[in-house]
């Protein structure tokens, strides 16, 4: 390692522009003649759209569904047996199905004027009863969103592995656990600019998105264009988290406008739109039973999980991503013999659910870990003792778990041991005996999870969805001055890929990372990719960069050997040079020779030259499994219900860390979101299906003073089947905090016989739980 390669704590290259305010986000783009769009959105959750009245003076500036000739509705389907398809018109046609659904679009010189027009447009909607609660939505008596379905269930799944054998277990603990609906709240909302170029006969969509190539495919389909007629550019993007991993109805609208109006159009989501029309993640309900031996050994988990999927399936796919995954990932990092799980993806009059950082895992971890603690209390043992019994052991690796997940490597119990030691459980127990002088109650809790990442074709082909990930490609191109360009189809919006992919290339070629340029976010410049999701970029795009650079190395070595007048087999690449027995030559000189002095090339030179696009997929491609144990120490004020995190420990194993500093950043960021899920974030809906928090005064995000610095400890167990042994780690930080914090709160409230089974744990919920506890004693 030369201090820049894999494993180096390099400062992020992209921060030079981002920290100086020189980033280029969609909102920074300017085009001559560009106009702004404001949408008229449904004010009601459910209703029949009878008409849209537009004042005469605005007739030419307002467009409704009937105007959108040639535009197809959004269909995000799955081939899973029994899946019901939702058709989402890009502008509402007969029915509106959630507050914020698009009804019309208004064009004006600027956004304020467009909003003036929007406020003058009236949608005539005959209100229907709102289907606002996923549990009642499952009942036969419920009103229906999609009449022809016959019920409100997108998909039901069922798995059973020997649950009968667990039913007589001496310990049986049943809980009902709920997580609130949340907003992802990236700093930059969504937004797009659409420009039609009549010379190129091409639509360019600048979009704040995570997967430009998939957006392009979907956009071309919905607008009836050839794919070559569409280019999607994702410039700097201010956080994605899954929120920007879909094709928006708004984007299709903008594309149509640009094609038909002859000038560029722009729409930038504002915070109210984000909160009210985009509260789209994390709403789960579990009825879960844990079976265990007297000593706490887990014998089985039986669960019925319901996920509120909202009104439609978003493109490429969203409706049952969470619920259907619940069934396969609920067993977590544990080894136990019996398991049953039934899941429901339920349609309600809310905006479509989207996969948020940790997709399903945050809820699953919350449900399972709370039940494990309840079992430990019942068995009279420490929660970590229970976990130590059932965590998959290093000698079992690689391990196929009860749902056929193939855990690649790791020492799960060691992460638990380290976390227990760091949070110092004996010291907490001693302190609890003494009590706090301020009357608060302290408690300790933990959670262990494993996180499947970069799972590929073999995992997804069975889903039958519009987007199955395959090989990931990267283009590596040596330039005549000895620099390197890397072109990748994934997108970096906070992950630091402009740095880490350069580090990977540096590791292979030894070129100074300052001379390595990572090009991403433009379908015209990069190989096709399903984009950035599922913690896949470092494994997949990193792997592709690695193999592409190895190919360049091979080709450069051949030219270098010729120039050094030695045999191919006697040269190697070191620090940006081809080194032979009698001398060396820089990659820059080799590149100049290839491009500009071809007369010096070897006769059998690879005519692909110093540019290679290579595909990569690990084998097997069932995913890497990073994992962590989180441990929290909290203080609960039992009189007013507030919770303070006093200490927080994360022991994480993400395989080989390409840039440990960036990994730390990912964990800190994920942790902050996890604290939000645990304690603050919630979009309440009333029985009319109205979202009730329309500003950040009501939708609480944790701020700097609410997110303590967690103490991080890294293990590095390599994955046996990826380049360098890397694993995906992008989401983990957000998975375990709600579980660890809730377990700590429940530990603190034990003397009061109170237990919290819902996130976020608000003061009101804490006090209600205490009141319930009091009624038991």
């Amino acid at each position: 390692m030369t201090g820049q390669g894999v494993g180096a704590r390099l400062l992020r290259k992209e921060d030079d522009r981002l920290m100086r305010g020189r980033g280029q986000f969609v909102g920074d783009l300017r085009f001559a003649g560009m106009k702004d769009v404001a949408f008229v959105r449904s004010p009601l959750a459910h209703g029949l759209l009878r008409g849209v009245s537009i004042p005469d003076e605005w007739k030419d500036s307002v467009f409704v569904a009937a105007d959108l000739n040639g535009v197809k509705p959004i269909r995000a389907v799955s081939g899973l047996k029994g899946f019901k398809v939702s058709e989402q018109p890009v502008l509402a046609t007969e029915k509106v199905r959630y507050v914020g659904e698009l009804v019309a679009m208004c064009i004006a010189q600027n956004r304020a004027l467009a909003e003036d027009i929007a406020s003058a447009v009236h949608s005539d909607i005959e209100e229907l009863p709102a289907v606002y609660d996923m549990l009642s939505a499952r009942k036969p008596s419920s009103d229906l969103l999609h009449q022809h379905w016959g019920d409100n269930v997108f998909l039901e799944t069922f798995v059973n592995v020997n649950i009968e054998k667990a039913l007589d277990a001496p310990i049986k603990v049943t809980r009902e656990i709920r997580t609130a609906r949340q907003c992802m709240a990236p700093i930059e909302g969504r937004g797009a600019v659409a420009v039609w170029d009549s010379r190129l006969d091409q639509l360019t969509l600048y979009s704040a998105c995570q997967m430009p190539h998939i957006i392009r495919t979907g956009l071309a389909e919905c607008l009836g264009l050839e794919e070559a007629q569409v280019r999607v550019v994702a410039p700097d993007v201010g956080g994605g988290f899954g929120y920007k991993g879909i094709l928006l109805a708004e984007e299709i609208c903008l594309g149509w406008l640009a094609m038909n109006l002859g000038h560029p159009v722009r729409w930038l989501e504002d915070r109210r739109e984000h909160l009210t029309a985009g509260a789209n993640c994390r709403e789960h309900f579990y009825r879960i039973t844990g079976y265990a031996d007297r000593d706490g050994t887990l014998l089985g988990i039986d669960c019925e999980a319901t996920v509120d999927s909202g009104a439609y399936s978003a493109y490429p796919f969203s409706a049952c991503l969470e619920a259907a995954q619940v069934a396969s990932i609920l067993p977590g990092p544990y080894d136990f013999p019996a398991y049953r799980c039934r899941t429901y993806s339920v349609a309600t009059n809310k905006c479509p659910i989207l996969p948020y950082r940790g997709v399903a895992r945050t809820g699953v971890c919350f449900a399972l870990e709370l039940v494990l603690d309840a079992i430990a209390r019942e068995a009279g043992i420490e929660p970590h003792e229970l976990r130590a019994k059932i965590l998959v052991k290093p000698e079992q690796m690689p391990f196929t778990n009860i749902t056929k997940k193939w855990f690649d490597s790791g020492d799960y119990p060691e992460s638990l041991r380290r976390a227990v030691a760091a949070i110092d459980i004996p010291a907490v127990r001693a302190r609890q005996k003494v009590g706090e002088t301020d009357g608060r109650l302290i408690g300790v809790g933990m959670a262990t999870y494993c996180e499947q990442a970069a799972h590929g074709t073999s995992v997804y082909y069975g889903w039958g969805i519009p987007m199955v990930p395959g090989f990931e490609q990267a283009t590596a191109r040596l330039t005549p001055d000895g620099g390197l360009e890397l072109r990748v189809g994934v997108h970096s919006h906070g992950q630091g890929l402009e740095t880490t992919l350069a580090q990977v290339a540096h590791e292979i070629l030894g070129i100074d990372v300052a001379k390595i340029k990572v090009v991403h976010g433009d379908t015209a410049m990069t190989p096709y990719s399903t984009g950035t999701w599922g913690s896949r970029c470092m494994v997949m795009a990193g792997g592709a960069v690695s193999v592409a650079c190895k190919e360049i190395a091979k080709r450069a070595a051949k030219i270098g050997a010729q120039l050094l007048q030695t045999d191919d087999s006697r040269v190697s690449i070191r620090a940006g040079e081809v080194v032979g027995p009698g001398g060396s030559i820089t990659l820059g000189e080799i590149a100049r020779t290839w491009y500009l002095k071809p007369h010096s090339l070897p006769a059998d030179v690879d005519m692909g030259g110093l540019e290679a696009t290579i595909g990569y997929r690990p084998s097997p491609d069932s995913g890497t499994f990073s994992y962590a144990t989180h441990a929290a120490l909290v203080a609960v004020d039992p009189e007013i219900g507030t919770i303070e995190i006093l200490d927080y420990v994360i022991v994480e194993d993400g395989g080989k860390l390409v840039n440990p500093m960036i990994v730390d950043g990912q964990i800190y960021g994920g942790f902050a979101q996890g604290v939000g899920t645990a304690l603050y974030e919630e979009m309440p809906f009333n029985s009319a299906g109205q979202p009730l928090a329309s500003t950040f005064a009501d939708y609480l995000l944790p701020g700097a003073t609410e997110v303590p610095a967690p103490r991080l400890d890294h293990m590095e167990t390599l994955s046996p089947h990826t380049e360098f042994g890397v694993k995906g780690i992008g989401e983990g930080g957000a998975i375990a905090p709600p579980a660890a914090i809730a377990n700590a709160v429940n530990d603190a409230l034990r003397p009061l016989k109170a237990e919290l089974l819902v996130s976020p744990m608000t003061p009101r919920r804490v006090l209600s739980a205490i009141a319930v506890g009091r009624s038991f004693s």
């Binding site: 304020a112 915070r271 109210r272 009189e639 219900g641 006090l767």
Partner: protein, 275 residues
Amino acid sequence: MKPVNFDFARPSDLPAAIALASREDAIVKFIAGGQSLGPMLNLRLVQPNLLVDITGIAELKRVEETPDALELGSCITHADIEDGRVPDVTGGAMRAVAAGIAYRAVRNRGTIGGSLAHADPSADWLSALAALGAQAIVRGAHKERQIPVDTLMTGVFECSLESGELLSGVEIPRLSKSARWGYYKHCRKTGELAHAIAAFLHDPDRSVCRAVIGATGSKPIVLSDASVLIGKGPDHALDRAAIERAMTGHGMTDPIEQQIHFVCLRRAVQQAYRP
């Protein structure tokens, strides 16, 4: 989320501002720090034709100290008070309250007058100044009047200013040396508007023992003779039943709300008597 089109004026004296506000042909709003009005404009909850910026009026930045009181112009900011740029007659009480409002960026611009006029039930000054016995000074086209802060608010986001009237300042009585003060508020996160507020003042030399329960969802509950609610013992135990009756009487019936507000009051009282 853009405001409607409006005109903007920045007069330099009070009569001009009041004259503009008295126009009948337009919806006119004063803007001071803009920290509450700004979001409301963006959300189009207010749609004025004319905004009158009052921060250029020197009189509204006045500071007048007398042996009995301090008069602050309405455009004195929370940060002016927090940083001690204006005198203090409350033994540090007002500085501490100011420092606990919102975030520094909001305190830099937000004004004491704007806060009172805005009449957000969760705002700090409304409860704190009511407990301190402050008077709001109100200027209209023809007269000036004083309204005790504890009766200023008439409902959620409503106060007893009449159209064309402007809050020109507040008069805060000087506390005596022996005065005891406690202030406790309950927020879920730093900088958030409070979910419960309790302010308590015991100034025996001036025969004042007043408690205010704020952030009630509506007007603050003012207990003007709190001495009857406080036990004479060293633990200053509160008469919980009586306080809960007062809350119920003001429409606060939810037991959890009552509990949180009661605990805040108890903590404010304990703070005041802490040796």
